[in-house]
Amino acid sequence: MKNINKTIKNKVALSNANLNINNNEICALIGPNGAGKTTLIKCLTGLSSSDSGIIKFDNESLNNRSINDILSKIGAVLKFPESISKTPIESIFNQEFFYRGIKQHKSVNYYLNKVKLNVSPDTKAGKLSLGMKQRLLIALAISHNPSLLILDEPFNGLDVDGVDLMKNIISDFVKENNNSVLITSHSLNDLNDFVSSVTFMQSGHTLHKETMEDIRENYGGSIKDYYREVHNNEL
């Protein structure tokens, strides 16, 4: 994503924002509330259109023609859609398989086991706890083998075990096929031990990407310390 600009209701949401994610990378997008993280993700997934700038995925530019092709390579976990609350998990998966054109897929239990979700496929999605819902969304997002997984605030409302489990699931996903992950989170301490790079965002613009090696060297491996310094500098 290069020089992305976006104005929403006369307010600048993104200003020359840049983001680059490589294969086999877990990239954390951090910044204060209202920095434009979710807007940037929405531009990347075509949920929102950018006013200017270039978005490329595997060297393919994002436009009306390529959007479906690009979406088939992306798995995204944003907000839990309440409209699926009354639907059994198995039906939700079947819908996902059908609409993504996945003819040869593994069983629903395989995907549920992958995210350590030990519930019956007949269970209605609304009956799951917050952490289980997050895991269900991840299972759905990875069911079509995407090369990029986007997670918007996946640790929100999770307990310590839930966070650890989520981190394992994300790490496994990356190891499997050289996949990539873009993750936004305010739980900075939880990111320290498993992300490979960090991009800081504030007031719609991004700073250059820092690798975890740089953060280890300059901030003792604490993303929170890095955040504090760049946040204060930006202010």
């Binding site: 929405k42 949920l47 929102s48 088939s72 944003l78 859609p81």
Partner: protein
């Protein structure tokens, strides 16, 4: 349009469609029993053909509200607030997705409802051969009844599309219900009087409504294609 997707959606609604046949059948029989006693005071409804047309249209008004409520459950709710994100992330084209969903839902629901009404109507017609319901004219005009049933199917489909359009466009289930109630008040009398007295006018009205509703549906498809998830 993608016929595979439409077929898939219809398969998902099998249960609802079976229920719809039953609900419309029972609704027609209840309306029939309620108005059977009231018909004596009105000479126009003393003819079996007019009486059947009137009870079909009265049942239609109940079905409008029921159909809109189901549309809110099966179509509109997927497009309200953040729920639409899941559909927008599917690599099928958002507009086509909506079009397939609406065609599958409206087509299958309206057809099921019409089947229920048709079964109820013919049951009443058969019973009228054996039981004296007190009609002044018992000669059944099948063509007229068929026109009323076709009009019912088109009118129900049109209002369902109108209500779904408003629900999706303004992301509000309540608005969808309000639209179907407004249609009931706006066209209620006109539909009943034309279905009993001037069936050409009746068919013209429902066809015009269908045409406008299809235009709105296409507008909605274009809107969805450009819709921004900004919140």
């Amino acid at each position: 349009m993608n016929f595979n997707n439409i077929k898939y959606e219809i398969n998902n609604m099998k249960k609802l469609n079976k229920k719809s046949v039953l609900v419309s059948f029972i609704a027609l029989i209840i309306v029939f029993l309620i108005f059977l006693g009231a018909k004596d005071s009105d000479p126009q409804t003393n003819h079996i053909n007019s009486f059947i047309s009137i009870i079909i249209m009265l049942t239609c008004y109940y079905e409008l509200i029921y159909a809109t409520a189901k549309s809110c459950r099966y179509v509109v709710s997927d497009y309200v607030n953040d729920n639409k994100i899941r559909l927008y992330l599917m690599p099928n084209g958002r507009g086509k997705f909506l079009l397939n969903k609406v065609i599958a839902f409206v087509g299958s629901f309206a057809t099921s409802s019409t089947i229920g009404i048709t079964i109820g109507t013919f049951l009443i017609l058969i019973l009228s051969k054996f039981i004296n319901f007190g009609f002044s004219d018992n000669n059944i005009n099948y063509l007229r009844i068929l026109v009323t049933l076709v009009g019912y199917l088109i009118y129900l489909s049109s209002v369902m599309i109108f209500a779904t359009y408003v629900g999706v466009r303004y992301q509000s289930k309540v608005s969808a219900i309000i639209v179907s109630i407004i249609f009931l008040f706006l066209f209620g009398n006109a539909m009943i009087s034309t279905s009993t007295s001037n069936q050409v006018a009746f068919i013209i009205i429902v066809l015009v409504l269908l045409f406008i509703s299809l235009l709105l549906l296409l507008h909605c498809v274009r809107y969805i294609n450009k819709d921004e998830v900004s919140r």
